[in-house]
């Protein structure tokens, strides 16, 4: 890569959109914990609160993630395959389509005309621009998926029989996953929500809408998570000073993640009346299967760290822990990420547990859980990847490594302080998605101290987020003579891989397997709506 300036600009543009969305949403998050606590009565306003929650959700879950995954994905494809982005004009087209979608959706969101949360909730209806904007954003991400899969195909044609770099294999798997995952929400928006919001249809079947959304709702989480796992496998071992434990097992983990993330969405519908228990149980079993690749990944990360620690002079059973380079942002992020994954994964098992879900469904436990596992485990790895990529993207050294380490620790501490009381509130029965507590019941008195803790946690997180943006901006804008000449380094496996069976080196077979599993797990549950003819629900404002 002698001259990759155009590729670097493409990646940087995506990443900046992602992180601008992120910092705006962080300010909203802190406002929300404050408003929700009710400590400052002047702030009380459900109108502002629900507009803010809807925007916070869309910015974090759709904008931050999509743009981060696209931007980092382009850079990983270019550097791991050592070939230019296929059709750069098209890539920029995808970028601007997604930006346009974001802006079009932002107008109704910020003016309080789309306070339907990012999960939509028909038959409540938002302004049509919200749904159209969201569709364009997703369409922009499809351009990225197509380019990733085409680049993989191109490379394989040029290198027959060779092993696809692990980083690209994971990225292509993620593109395949997202194409499948986003189809559900796309069907809901195109055939149900847009026609209803424009007045072309009079009623909607919310049961079908919820089923289609559940199709997307689990795999979307893995779409966000796969870049974090990719960094665990392809960046961490090298940064820690060691080797990747096993290249083949990493591929298997990505395959099981992508394949089994898709046919299991009904764990979001456990408490719903429009699907039968048998289907819910089937999806519930699949949900447990998808815990396996995470357990395998945990093993691989710890094994890679142990190898690195021992190579650096670690002695005895735990000596390697002290010998790890804790001042390396990638290493520190992975350790903190894994700690949050352990607790978040534990909570996830509770949510997944079928009938037990009744105790925590739609309580504060749930946002506590997904903040820990997404904003914690996943987003801290987005930071790590950004800190790693930024000097290479702007060709200047990172402004301050010490500030970056402080920022990562603060994020971990803030997330722990925010999410622990959030989980407890859920067990104490507090519903999620309330803008304040007005229940005339003694139970609510026990909620107050936890809400106070959440404000503190949010404040630490906001400070950490600001440090992150400051460090990236300074790195790019700070005048310096120093030129950063480092190049991206992909970890080597302990045992080199000479050749692989095609199913560990390509996505074609897995695409077919996904098609079969999706037909089994969603075929009848979707078709049933055309037989049972539930009376439609009229649209409502909010």
């Amino acid at each position: 890569m002698t001259n990759d300036a155009a590729e670097r600009k493409l990646a940087l543009s995506h990443l900046w959109v992602a992180f601008i969305a992120f910092i705006l949403a962080c300010f909203m998050g802190e406002y929300q914990v404050l408003e929700r606590s009710g400590f400052i009565s002047a702030m009380d306003s459900p109108t502002v609160y629900f507009a803010s929650v809807s925007t916070h959700g869309v910015l974090m879950a759709f904008v931050l993630t999509s743009f981060f995954i696209m931007g980092s994905g382009y850079y990983i494809a270019v550097t791991s395959l050592k070939q230019a982005v296929w059709n750069r004009t098209l890539a920029w087209g995808g970028f601007w389509l997604a930006v346009a979608g974001t802006v079009i959706a932002a107008v109704p969101l910020l003016t309080g005309r789309a306070s339907v949360l990012y999960t939509f909730y028909p038959p409540i209806v938002a302004h049509a621009a919200f749904y159209i904007g969201a569709t364009l954003l997703v369409a922009g991400s499809w351009v990225w998926c197509a380019i990733m899969l085409l680049m993989l195909r191109q490379w394989k044609m040029a290198h027959p029989g060779q092993v696809v770099p692990l980083a690209m294999f994971a990225t292509a798997m993620n593109a395949l996953l997202w194409l499948w995952a986003s189809a559900g929400v796309a069907l809901e928006i195109l055939f149900q929500l847009i026609p209803l919001s424009l007045g072309w249809t009079d009623t909607i079947d919310p049961g079908l809408a919820r089923t289609l959304f559940a199709w997307t709702l689990h795999p979307i989480v893995y779409f966000w998570l796969i870049p974090a796992y990719t960094a665990f496998y392809v960046f961490l071992p090298k940064q820690a000073g060691g080797y990747l434990f096993s290249d083949e097992m990493a591929r298997l983990a990505f395959i099981v993640l992508a394949v089994f993330a898709l046919p299991i969405g009904f764990h979001h519908l456990y408490m719903d009346p429009e699907q039968a228990s048998g289907w819910k149980l089937l999806h519930g079993v699949g949900t447990f299967v998808v815990a396996l690749p995470t357990l395998v990944t945990g093993f691989a990360v710890l094994a890679s760290l142990e190898i690195a620690g021992n190579l650096r002079g670690g002695k005895g059973l735990f000596g390697w822990i002290g010998c790890l380079p804790w001042t390396n942002t990638m290493v520190l992020s992975v350790i903190l990420s894994l700690l949050m994954l352990i607790f978040g994964g534990f909570g996830g098992i509770v949510n997944a547990s079928y009938a037990m879900n009744a105790m925590v469904h739609n309580t504060a436990w749930v946002p506590g859980h997904f903040h820990l596992i997404f904003a914690g485990t996943t987003v801290i790895m987005y930071f790590a990847i950004a800190y790693y990529f930024w000097p290479m993207l702007v060709k200047k050294p990172l402004y301050s490594n010490a500030l970056a380490l402080l920022q990562l620790w603060l994020w971990f501490i803030g997330m722990s302080i925010l999410t622990t009381p959030w989980h407890v509130l859920g067990l104490l029965g507090q519903p999620r998605r309330v803008s304040g507590v007005v229940y005339n019941n003694l139970l609510t008195l026990s909620w107050k101290p936890y809400e106070l803790m959440m404000i503190l946690g949010g404040l630490i997180l906001l400070g950490s987020a600001c440090l992150f943006i400051y460090n990236l901006a300074k790195t790019q804008l700070h005048p310096t003579q120093e030129v950063f000449a480092g190049e991206i380094e992909y970890a080597e496996p302990m045992h080199a891989v000479a050749s692989l069976p095609e199913w560990l080196n390509d996505i074609t077979l897995w695409n077919k397997v996904i098609a079969v599993l999706m037909a089994i797990s969603f075929g009848y549950p979707i078709l049933q709506f055309f037989f049972i003819h539930a009376p439609g629900a009229s649209p409502w404002g909010f």
């Binding site: 909730y121 919310p206 049961g207 919820r210 434990f245 009346p273 079928y354 879900n357 404002g541």
Partner: protein
């Protein structure tokens, strides 16, 4: 139909796949870890499946439709039929309507340690209901009847909270339920069911 060649082809593919699978080098320690993981996952799945199939521990899942827009014309959910009812066999059914922003009737009284069947419907948008500290939890989706059977082990005063965003007044959507000791509870008279009697 020529099934035989197809079957042979499938078998050959499977054999090939198995041979390739066996050729993947997996570290001894990692094999042990995967085995342990599979056992733990199998245990969880096993407990859930046995509970579901043999003890009927299931989330709500009876697909039954209803016209949410015309509940006022619906006999079962007409106003005088809402609330707690005991049938000839002594089974207790509680019919409730959710609408922005309350549950109707506003207050009900039920016995503890008794099997209760709740039937919830929405008259407008999506709602959810949870009685904290219990597993009385279900989504209430317009167009569908949400039926759930449960037993409250402990007497006490509980709130019934709407736990799904249903509009800007969502916070205010809640009602009360009194759970009385079994011996203190008296079946309500057939008519009328009082609304909003204890909500002061």
């Amino acid at each position: 139909m020529q099934l035989e060649p197809l079957k042979q082809k499938c078998m050959q593919h499977l054999r090939e796949f198995y041979a390739q699978w066996r050729a993947i080098p997996i570290d001894k320690l990692e094999q042990k870890w995967i085995t342990i993981s599979l056992i733990v996952i199998g245990l969880f799945v096993g407990i859930i499946t046995v509970d579901a199939l043999f003890h009927s521990v299931n989330p709500p899942g009876k697909i039954e439709t209803v016209d949410s827009a015309s509940l006022h014309l619906n006999e079962e959910f007409a106003e005088e039929n809402l609330g707690v009812q005991v049938d000839a066999k002594g089974d207790i059914t509680i019919r409730m309507v959710a609408g922005r922003y309350s549950f109707f009737p506003k207050h009900i009284t039920v016995p503890a340690e008794t099997r209760l069947t709740f039937r919830w419907v929405s008259m407008d948008v999506l709602h959810g209901v949870h009685i904290p500290m219990t597993n009385m939890s279900t989504m209430i989706v317009p167009g569908y009847v949400a039926e759930i059977t449960t037993t409250f082990p402990k007497p006490g005063e509980y709130p019934m909270l709407c736990n799904e965003y249903c509009g800007l007044g969502h916070n205010h959507m809640w009602s009360n339920i009194s759970v009385l000791a079994r011996e203190d509870w008296v079946a309500p008279a057939r008519l009328p069911v009082e609304g909003a009697a204890n909500d002061k």
